[in-house]
């Protein structure tokens, strides 16, 4: 569906809703996706697809809500969904749900966002994209034949239109593209896999990769590292001074901190007290800042919320002090924070929840790091830089954690875990490599342990946020590396120490 058709659909439902004495939010989305996967030199799959749909969220005049959605956009679908959503809202009111009338306070907005893509969807024909991805895949296989390689490329364009009873009509386009190499390497009878990516808005990522082959170099370096990890020893579990890469730092900021300041979670968050954000709480050393907000060209870019509000950039932690949270229209005030347009949804089928976009963890105390072309050269540069600045902790392991494999947090207890691809002891001139082990602890202790940054900001660590059973793109980063002191509440798993 074209943007104009989506807008017309939303307007027609809003028109019909005028006789309803409550409030409605109408969300229409048209999603187009091309994807391909290659394995060991052959196409495994090339797929194209559309997903168009409509969602109507109705509120009774007292604030009970119901949602109805459909991807069958036949004549009369708007009428049917509107009636169903209103019926469910009344049903909900009848069973005594918690009422919420905040949507009546949302500022009216008219916006028609431009598509930020440099190459619009379809500008580069699929056949040409296939040739480019095959060329990149074949080149990597030739350069690292000991690995078993899968290459994937995916480009998506989402057109959204959100309309509300107050006359708000917000349209925007979110383009995304990602190129990924996944390698499996073996050493003797052990195997390890590695996954790296290059993301952006559109097919430009392929053109850039064909020019500089930076992802290929990273893939080879990571595969070499994974091979070394296969038969590496395990570390004794314990508490160590750590250096974490920006992928892990994004994980820390997102999983361990961002979720804890989302307005719908404050009731159950370690950063909440009696249902309010603990504003003014010192959570990190002076100089530590955490910022969330959309960046144009980024994987998780979204300029407006799925409730039709402008998405704001929020400084969550300023100079080590908790300052603000990520608030959506429905729960921000109750959570003691301003509305920042943080509501995001996977699709028109889902209820928007307060979520992050691109979250960055930055420190004022930054030590410059000379860029290196290859991974182990960079690790050597890290060691040299830390030595030069007196930052290696004497007489103990200083562990560099590489590669973010994901993580999880319990915002209520503050427990978090992260996994990496492998570990290097940069205090040892031989740079010994260890098996990955779980990096876990309490979120406030982890934040308090951050003592500095190494290198410039890198914000392109990407992922998918699974909050509420939805899958929404997320991203973020920090300095190339973050330095953390040993802390009794932050540990690495492994063998019994």
């Amino acid at each position: 569906m074209e943007q104009k058709e989506i807008q017309a659909l939303v307007r027609s439902v809003l028109m019909e809703a005028k006789i309803f004495d409550g409030y409605v939010i109408v969300r229409a989305q048209s999603r187009r996706e091309w994807s391909m996967r290659l394995s060991n030199g052959r196409f495994e799959r090339v797929s194209t697809g559309w997903d168009n749909g409509l969602g109507v969220q109705a509120f009774t005049k007292d604030g009970a809500s119901g949602l109805a959605t459909s991807d069958v956009l036949e004549e009369g679908v708007g009428t049917k969904l509107l009636a169903k959503a209103i019926q469910l809202a009344h049903r909900n009111e009848g069973v005594g749900t918690k009422l919420n009338r905040r949507i009546w306070e949302a500022p009216q907005l008219q916006a028609d966002g431009v598509n930020p893509a440099q190459k619009v969807f379809g500008e580069i024909p699929l056949v040409e994209l296939e040739e480019k991805v095959m060329s990149l895949h074949s080149r990597l296989r030739g350069a690292f034949p000991e690995g078993v390689w899968q290459t994937s490329y995916r480009q998506v364009e989402e057109e959204w239109c959100i309309g509300r009873s107050d006359g708000t009509l917000v349209s925007f386009v979110v383009p995304r593209a990602v190129l990924m190499h996944q390698g499996t390497v073996r050493d003797q009878d052990k195997a390890q896999s590695t996954l790296i990516h290059r993301s952006g808005m559109d097919a430009t990522v392929l053109f850039e990769e064909l020019k500089d082959h930076s992802l290929e170099r990273k893939a080879m370096d990571r595969a070499e590292f994974a091979r070394a990890v296969c038969n590496a020893p395990q570390l004794p579990s314990g508490h160590y001074p750590l250096i974490i890469d920006y992928g892990l730092a994004k994980g820390l900021a997102h999983e361990a901190f961002g979720h804890a300041v989302e307005s719908d979670h404050i009731n159950e968050s370690v950063l909440g007290e009696e249902g309010k954000l603990r504003k003014g709480l010192r959570v990190a050393r002076p100089g530590v800042n955490i910022i969330d907000g959309p960046l144009v060209g980024d994987w998780a870019y979204q300029p407006y919320s799925a409730n039709g509000l402008l998405r704001q950039t929020v400084t969550i932690v300023r100079d080590g002090v908790l300052e603000a949270g990520l608030g959506d229209i429905f729960s921000a005030e109750e959570a003691g924070m301003p509305v920042t347009g943080a509501g995001r949804a996977e699709s028109y089928r889902h209820v928007p929840l307060p979520r992050m976009s691109n979250i960055r963890l930055l420190v004022e105390r930054m030590i410059p790091l000379a860029p290196a072309e290859h991974l182990m050269d960079e690790v050597k540069a890290v060691r040299a830089t830390l030595l030069q600045h007196g930052e290696l902790r004497e007489g103990e392991k200083n562990l560099l954690l590489l590669g973010y494999r994901g993580g999880q947090v319990n915002p209520k207890t503050g427990d978090f875990v992260f996994q990496c691809d492998g570990i290097i002891d940069v205090a040892d001139p031989d740079l010994p490599i260890y098996q990955p082990s779980i990096f876990s602890g309490k979120i406030l202790s982890a934040l308090e342990a951050i003592r500095g940054g190494l290198g410039e900001g890198c914000y392109d660590a990407i992922g998918t946020c699974g909050k509420g059973g939805q899958s929404v793109p997320s991203s973020g980063g920090s300095h190339r590396y973050l330095l953390m002191d040993a802390d009794q509440q932050v540990s690495l798993g492994g063998e019994h120490g």
Partner: protein, 439 residues
Amino acid sequence: MKLVAQLEDLLYQSQLVPKKEELRLSAWRILVHDSEAVSLGVKDNSSGSVYTPPTYRQGESGEVFLVWSDGTCSQATVQLPAQNDPEYWSKELEQWRQASYEDPDATHIPAPEPLPLVAVEDRAIQKIIAGDDEILFDQVKHWLTDKPKNVKMQGSIQAAWGYRHVRTSTGLAVTYQQSQFMAWFSFDSLIGAGFAKRRLIHPQEQEDLWSLTVERYEGMQKEAPPVGPQTQVIFAPSLTEEMLGQFILPNFSGDRVIEGQGAFSKENFIEHRMVFHPQFSLSIDPLRPLELGSYLVTSEGVPAERTELVRNGQLQTPFLRVKDAVRWGAKPTALPQGTAGVYLKHQAEVSWAEAMRGVEDGVLVLSVLGLHTQEAVSGSYSLSAPHSLRILKGQIVGRTDVKLSGNFLADLLASTTKTAHSDLDSHPYLLIKTGIQPL
């Protein structure tokens, strides 16, 4: 006109009398889901809050797989066109042609075979969809009335019903009704329970599940003595299921085995290498009535049948989709639906009640943080499990936080590993000896 009918028309026409010769199909298959669902959630003790409102969802979408006359193939997801554009499908066909690629092993479309009789539909769920949804609201009301004092409860309940259509150019034309019912709840985001089948939960099952969860929640309210290196680790059924999903399924996926991306090689399967303890077997069984993993026919038109992946500890076969089966030189097998339909069985399995009585020094791990981050191929894990339940002399004595490190493939090979079953779960409790320490 329904989506499946529109697609059938289009593809038959393109096979027999294409508009252009380059758009001639030699074979195809269609899968369409046509379904409706209603759901209701609980957030922070409030049913149907603004984040978990009663919801109705309607969907009619699917996918097509096409083999063109030059032997190339295409795949696409499809849904009903948004408006009356008579040229819509012609344009789509042109687009699919553009997206064609070479994959000779994928072009085989199986001939129709007799389908088994499998119960996959509960008519009571259809009534809920039709508007008789009292049961959902009543269930949530009971939860909120019966929950332990001062507990912050979250939960969700969903019923879905619809049609599954599978069509192939070789003559298979199957349409059948199927249903799903899912419910889960948690207390203080620390402990929870769930139910997911193709039928409604029975009142007794609901009561047993609820009592067990409340009992365990109460057990969590006091601190227990820390674990030691000899403490027996017990995975709760939901965790066993997650471990199977993380470490076992990826390594039994035919495409990964063929491409050398799994823990086992094709030779390992051919030689029936012993990878689990001889008392363990692992199967995919889509024939069990009203289980979530049950079906009549795969999306590729292969009739459901039971497949043993591991028998008496020895590898038998990975699960094979049609393309993988062609490459493997065997028949396609049963396919798991996530972890549903996968069954791990130990010959000396006992009931959970009996197994627990025999635990002198143990810890029952209900959930772990970060399992999805673990390396599937190696089978190794390093996990934290806050809020586990300490068992001493056969009794739950309180809560303890632990860290686990080990290897799930090694766990299933160990002679010390046992299982225990419960009527509330389709996966077993797993009793293992692994690396454990206080968190």
